[in-house]
Amino acid sequence: MKKVYPNADAALEGLLFDGMTIASGGFGLCGIPELLIAAIERAGTRNLTIASNNAGVDGFGLGVLLATKQVKKMISSYVGENAEFMRQYLSGELELEFNPQGTLAERLRAGGAGIGGFYTRTGVGTVIADGKDVKLFDGKEYILETGIVADISIVKAWKADPSGNLVFRKTARNFNPPAATAGKICICEVEEIVPLGSLDPDHIHLPGIYVHRLIQGTHEKRIENRTTRKKEA
C-alpha cells in the first residue's frame, strides 16, 4: 500500500467529516502540522474536537481553524497566546477542556497503546479531579484519566521514508509521537521523504506502523518568541 500522497488536500481526502475528533502534534508553533491544518481549513470541516497542547496563535497554526469557527471544542493545556481563542471561549462559542500537559500527553499515548485509562497524581485536590474516580495506591490519592482515541491524527516530522518511519528534529518532536499513535488514521507531513534504507533502523523515533498517509512539503516554521544574545566582542 502506498503511503505517500502528492499534497495535504489529497492526503486528507475521504477522511474528514463534521463533528470528528482530531489529535494534533506540536508545542506552541513548534512542530505543528501546518500544511494539514491549512488543508482542513480549505476543506471547511466543522464542529471539530481537537486534542492539541496549544491552540496556535491568531492567524497561524490551529488559530486559523478558530478564526473560521470550524472548532467546537479544544482539549489543551495552555491557550494563552491566542486572543481569538480567549474571545470565543469567554463568549461561550467554544468549549474548552483543560488537561494538565502531562495528562494530555499520557492520554494520547494510552489511547494509542490500547490502555483505556490510568491513575495519576496530577490534579489531585484541584478542579481537574472533579467527578473523577479516586484510588489509593501506597496510601496516596490518584485520579483516573482516560485514553484518547481520535478519528485522525495530524502530525509533523522532520524526515520519513516511504514506509512511514519517522525521524523528528530537536524539540519539534514534542506531542507528535503520542498524537500520531492516538489516531485511528495518522497523516504526517515531513520536510523530506528519503529513499527506503537511508534511515538507520536504530535511529527511527516512530515506526511506520503508526503512519498511514504521508506528504512532503515546505514549512514556514514560524518562531513564536524569538530570544537571542549578543556575541561578545
Partner: protein
C-alpha cells in the same frame, strides 16, 4: 528596600545542588539559570521535550525547532537529549526531577499553590504546572509577596483554583524566604533591607517559629 526580580532569581539559584535535574518555570524562574553558583552543575529540563537546555542563541542562529517551554528560542549543550512529551512527563511524574522552581499567583500556609487561572478573567491554562508539582522532589515558588494593590499573596488559604494541594516546600519572594512547616510558614531569611515587622505586615499566612 527589597529584592528585585533578578535578586529573587539569584536567591532561588542558591537552592540548586550539584548533579540535580531541575525544571524552571516561565518568568522569574527562567532567570534562575543566569545565577547558577560556581561549581554547581545542574541539568535543566524543558517539559516540551529536552534535557540539557542551553542559553539563548546568538542573533541569526535561532532554530524554530529548538524552543523552551516558554516558546523562546534556545540552544543545546553537549549533554542534551530530546524526547517526546509523554516521555517528558514520565520523568516528571516519576520523581526523576529533583526540583521545580515555579511562579505563583497565590500560595497558602498549607503549601497550596494557585498559578493557572483567574475565573472569568484570565484563562490561559495550567500547562505542565500540575504535573510538575505532583511529581518532582521539591517545589520552590518564586513570586512577589504582594499584589499591585498591596494585598498579600502569601495567604492562609488560596482563593483561586489550585494547581496543587499541599505541594510547596519553600517560598522566595521580594521580601524574603519561607518554608512550609506544620502549622504555617517559617521565616527563613529576610530580603536585604526588609524588617521583620514589614515582612509580617505583608504576610496574611500564619508565621510559626
Amino acid at each position: 528596600m527589597a529584592w528585585d526580580r533578578n535578586q529573587i532569581a539569584a536567591r532561588a539559584a542558591q537552592e540548586l545542588q550539584d548533579g540535580w535535574y531541575v525544571n524552571l518555570g516561565i518568568g522569574i524562574p527562567t532567570l534562575v539559570a543566569n545565577y547558577i553558583p560556581e561549581g554547581v552543575s545542574v541539568t535543566l529540563q524543558s517539559e516540551n521535550g529536552m534535557l540539557g537546555m542551553g542559553p539563548f542563541p546568538y542573533e541569526g542562529e535561532e532554530d524554530p525547532d529548538l524552543i523552551n517551554a516558554g516558546k523562546q528560542t534556545i540552544t543545546e549543550l553537549p549533554q542534551t537529549a530530546y524526547f517526546d512529551s509523554s516521555q517528558s512527563f514520565a520523568m516528571i511524574r516519576g520523581g526523576k526531577i529533583a526540583m521545580a522552581i515555579l511562579g505563583a499567583m497565590e500560595v497558602a500556609e498549607n503549601g497550596d499553590l494557585a498559578n493557572w487561572m483567574i475565573p472569568g478573567k484570565l484563562v490561559k491554562g495550567m500547562g505542565g504546572a500540575m504535573d510538575l508539582v505532583a511529581g518532582v522532589g521539591r517545589v520552590v515558588v518564586v513570586m512577589d509577596h504582594t499584589s499591585k494593590h498591596g494585598e498579600s499573596k502569601v495567604l492562609k488559604s488560596c482563593t483561586l483554583p489550585l494547581t496543587g494541594k499541599g505541594v510547596v516546600n519553600r517560598i522566595i519572594t521580594n521580601l524574603g524566604v519561607m518554608d512550609v512547616v506544620p502549622g504555617g510558614l517559617k521565616l527563613i531569611e529576610l530580603a536585604d533591607g526588609v524588617t521583620e515587622a514589614e515582612f509580617r505586615a505583608a504576610t496574611e499566612a500564619t508565621l510559626v517559629n
